[in-house]
Amino acid sequence: MTDVRVAGVGLTRFGNHPERTGRDLFATAALRAFEDAGVPREDVEELNYGNFMGALAEHQGHQAPLMAEAAGVRCPATRYESACASAGVAVREAVRTVRAGDADVVLAGGMERMTNLPTAEVTEGLAIAADDLFEVREGVTFPGAYALMANAYFDAYGGEREDLAHIASKNHANAVPNEYAQFRSEVSVEEAMDAPPVAEPLHLYDACPITDGASALVIVSEEYAADHDVDAPVAVTGVGQGTDRLALADREHVARTPAADDAAETAYAAAGVEPADVDVAEVHDCFTIAEVLAIESLGIAPRGEGITAARDGRTTADGDVPVNLSGGLKAKGHPVGATGGSQIAELTRLLRGDHPNSEHVADAEVGVAHNAGGTVASAVVHVLEVAE
């Protein structure tokens, strides 16, 4: 087995770019990743590209060859689709390919174009990540599904809307210095509480925005980095993926995410680390309640205690384990097919020390990224460590 390094990362600014094509967004992220890595494009042996709703947003299927030419690479190119975990599964496969010795350099990431569609169509587009026959037809929207999970959580473990508002406020504060974030303004707990409802108990500031954006990572073998004098201090030491029943109603418990439990267990075991070793985390907070479920699955908070972690300051920038120093999906934005790659880009910069929020995790050695699809029927966890 070969050790795997993140040689370079690239992002577009996340936000409203309704006029920009998907191919332009991904090309921008990819070129930034190559520049950051100092790796020539002709060395890329595979492209693993994540995208969810390109057929709806751009009437464009078969996107992988298009993105290969946009990024200026000529190699086997494959699109991965696992709803909002599309880029996470694309990166996981890149790591596995390099670890297996099948390639030394893989370009991985994703893109989503969303704001060119009316909001109602985006709502419909996101909903199709749920079970069409037994959920979507019965009125389950993407926020509605997480609202069902939030109320189930409150019933099982306690908690209230104000706990969720603290998560929104924390993540907005973290996004302020992040030049790639969609929202770089603070939101108070009071403002979050007063915002209009989307699906009770979730209100506007509990929800991530609709976002255009792309992410790209240059993943290389340790040997390639050494042989080519590539500065790649961050290693991917563990990956894990989990799957659950698609429909919420079929889950063992509506307020738990066993797919993420499984992904975390596999990733931690591969890395040889424990939850207590985690210094910093980027988690899939498409809704505030999702951050609660994520940190419980990752073992950062015990079951039933994730709800108060932000309110008690355990996951804030100055807390024991800062969560979503990028701003998270909540404030940084959520171009769904790009998100899993962007989390690893943010975490890499946080660990390298060149992220605007790196000062909060100056001694961090172990980071974890949690990317979820739909209502966590799919989950991917990556463990990143400072290798040198």
């Binding site: 419909e124 019965e138 009125g139 929207t141 609202a147 069902l148 109320n151 189930a152 989307v198």
Partner: protein, 141 residues
Amino acid sequence: MSDDTADGGSVPATNAGYDEWLDAVADGEGYALVCPDGHGSLPPRRVCPECGSTELSREPLAATGTVETQSVVHVPSPRFAEDAPYVTAIADFGPVRVTGVVRGIDPEPDAIEAGDELEASVGTRETDGERIVVFRPTDEA
């Protein structure tokens, strides 16, 4: 039984297994597919998703379901544009849980809560007339 669902041409495509199940729920004869170990699931299904058994037989849903969780949805998808705000719920009907829209209550956060009893039937969306699973409180139904 997909031929039976073509009333008024409102069903442009059929989904064998699902349409038949919805017809049964409409007739008050809703069922789950249950394996010998008692795991329930909804059709169409050839394999028990819990244990992999291929011996699936029909068992009736419980007469009433118990609310597990619910939400008042204010921002709908286009298919529910005229229905919002509405209450969506997951209710336990014995062998399976079922997801549906709750009618016969005000769409308010405390109108129903976990533990309440609901009956399942089939109604239509206000927006486009498509059939959906509808729950009603047992004292209303």
